[in-house]
C-alpha cells in the first residue's frame, strides 16, 4: 500500500501524516511536492493540514491551483482514495472536489483542542472500521472550520449520506456547546457522492498513538488500508 502526502508551501502536518502512516500503520508512504505533475503511483493521497500559501485570500484558495492538484482531480475522478485533513479539507472544497465552503469560526478565534466526533456514516472507505454512532476523540486546530453549504446543498448531503462526521458531546449527542466552530448542522467531515474523497477538519494523524492522548485517529487510516486491501 503506497500513500502519498502532498506538501504545499505552508503545510505543517505533512510530517505528522507521514509518521502516522509509516510508524503506526507500517505502510509505505512518500512525500509529493506541490509542483509535481505525477502522483508517483500512490494508491492513496493525503492533503495535510497547515496554512498553504499563508491562508491568503481564502484558506486553500491558492493551493488548489498547484500543478499537483490537476493530478489529484484526475485521480479522484478515477475513483482513487483522497483524504483532506483541515487545510487539506479546505483545499478540496476550493477545488470543487467536495461541496460547500469554510467560514471563520463563529468565535473568530483559532481553536486547538480535542473534540468529539460522531460517525454518522460507517459505510465509507474511511470509516469501515467504525460502528454507526461511534464517538471518536480527535483534536481540531483551525480558524476557519465553520462549514457552510446552501440549503439545497445540505439536503443533498443528507440524502446521499455524505455527512460522515458530526461534532458531538462525549455521548454522541448533538449539543451546540460541543460544536466548536459553528459548523452548519455540526458538520466535521463529508465525503463526495462517489465516496472516495473525504474532507475532515479534525486531525486523525495527531491522535493515532496513545502517547498523543488518543488513538482514535487510527480508525480512519486503518479503514482506508482495509478498503484498499479489499479492492486490490
Amino acid at each position: 500500500m503506497k500513500f502519498g502526502v502532498i506538501t504545499f508551501p505552508g503545510s505543517n502536518c505533512d510530517y505528522d501524516c507521514y509518521k502516522a502512516i509509516q510508524d503506526v500503520l507500517k505502510e509505505d508512504v512518500v512525500f509529493l511536492w506541490h509542483n509535481q505533475t505525477s502522483l508517483d503511483g500512490c494508491e492513496c493521497i493525503i492533503l495535510p493540514g497547515g496554512f498553504s500559501y499563508g491562508d491568503y485570500l481564502r484558506t486553500g484558495a491558492i493551493a488548489r491551483f498547484s500543478p499537483i492538484m490537476k493530478e489529484v482531480k484526475k485521480f479522484a475522478e478515477a475513483g482513487g482514495l483522497v483524504i483532506g485533513i483541515c487545510n487539506g479539507f479546505q483545499i478540496l472544497l476550493e477545488s470543487g472536489l467536495l461541496p460547500g465552503a469554510m467560514l471563520n469560526n463563529k468565535t473568530l478565534r483559532f481553536i486547538c483542542k480535542y473534540v468529539y466526533l460522531r460517525v454518522d456514516n460507517e459505510n465509507t472507505p474511511f470509516t469501515n472500521r467504525c460502528t454507526k454512532g461511534q464517538v471518536l476523540k480527535i483534536p481540531i486546530a483551525h480558524s476557519d472550520g465553520n462549514y457552510f453549504i446552501s440549503k439545497i446543498g445540505l439536503e443533498k448531503l443528507k440524502m446521499q449520506k455524505q455527512i460522515v462526521f458530526r461534532y458531538c458531546d462525549p455521548n454522541g449527542n448533538l449539543d451546540i456547546n460541543f460544536n466548536p466552530n459553528g459548523a452548519l448542522d455540526f458538520i466535521a467531515g463529508i465525503k463526495n457522492e462517489k465516496g472516495n474523497v473525504l474532507g475532515m477538519m479534525p486531525h486523525p494523524e495527531r491522535s493515532s498513538e496513545t502517547i498523543l492522548g488518543s488513538e482514535d485517529g487510527r480508525y480512519i487510516f486503518e479503514s482506508m488500508v482495509e478498503h484498499l486491501k479489499g479492492i486490490i
Binding site: 469560526n105 463563529k106 457552510f148 459553528g182
Partner: protein
Amino acid sequence: MKGILMRKSEAITRKGKKKLFLAKVFVRLKEGVLDPQGSTIKRALEDMGYDGIEDIRTGRVFEINFSSEDRNKSKVLIDEVCKKLLANPVIEKYKFEVKQR
C-alpha cells in the same frame, strides 16, 4: 504582448492604442451567510456607544491596475478572474467596475 491584460495562452494582434485601466472588485459574503467579523464589529461599535446599527457585513476590495486596448474585452477577463479566484461563489458575491486611469 507584454503589459496588456490577457490570457497568456492567447496570442493577440495589436490594433488599438494601449490605455491604462483600474478595476475595482468588491467581494462580499452572500445574504444569509453568517459574517462573524461583521457581527463582532457591530458589537464593538455598540460598546463604543453607537446606536441604531442594524447589521454590518464585511468584504474586501481588490484594485487591479492594468493596460488594455479594449475595455469590454478586459471586463470579460476581470469577470473570469473573479469567478475563478477572487470570489468563492458558494459563499460570496462580487461586483466590479473598470475605469480608465
